[in-house]
Amino acid sequence: MTEFLLGAALFVLGTVALGLIRILRGPDDADRMLAAQLLGTGGVAVLLLLGVASGLGAVGDLALMLALLAAFASVAFVTGVARPDPPKPVRDPNALPRGDRS
């Protein structure tokens, strides 16, 4: 059973890695964020599988933290897109194109 669970974890990790191609291709920042979201859900599954395969309960806690942080990452991304301009520009605001990081 341990071998099977390790294999499944490796497979899911492979699909997540494949999905990261989307980060290279884009074209939007939102598309790249989708790949990060995939990394969140897929990472949780990989950690759960590894946790059961290895018998280490603490890996389950890691999965819980990853689920939480992945959600926060996406919400932080969206609040950044919705309010791209900072309330008080400290430096020259024309130095950077607004709300576009690419």
């Binding site: 099977f4 497979f11 899911v12 989307r22 599954a45 759960l48 389950g60 689920a67 969206v78």
Partner: protein
């Protein structure tokens, strides 16, 4: 009995892995951001659900199982919220009267 449980785990986890593959394929193949978001949220949530279901017989009752279910519920809630929030961020300017419908 133990064989049946092992079989259950293998079937559920394998199915879950297939849905993860589907999510990745959708993410790479679907034509625009919103359709990719559909693929990602729906396929991956089901994939994670199946992996959790498959792992349930392999952990100790009730603490380990409850924790697995808690992880799944949190991921489900996060997926549903993120889907909506990302969707509203990439939505193009308001469509007026497009696809108007009354239930």
């Amino acid at each position: 009995m133990s064989l049946a449980l092992s079989l259950f785990t293998i079937v559920c986890v394998s199915l879950g892995a297939v849905f993860f593959l589907a999510g990745t394929l959708g993410l790479l193949r679907f034509p625009d951001t919103l359709t990719r978001l559909h693929a990602l949220t729906k396929a991956d949530n089901l994939g994670l659900g199946l992996v959790v279901l498959g792992l349930l017989p392999q952990v100790d009752w009730p603490l380990g199982a409850l924790k697995l279910i808690a992880v799944w519920l949190l991921a489900l809630l996060a997926g549903a919220t993120v889907g909506q929030v990302l969707g509203s961020a990439v939505r193009p300017p308001p469509v007026s009267g497009a696809g108007e419908s009354t239930p």
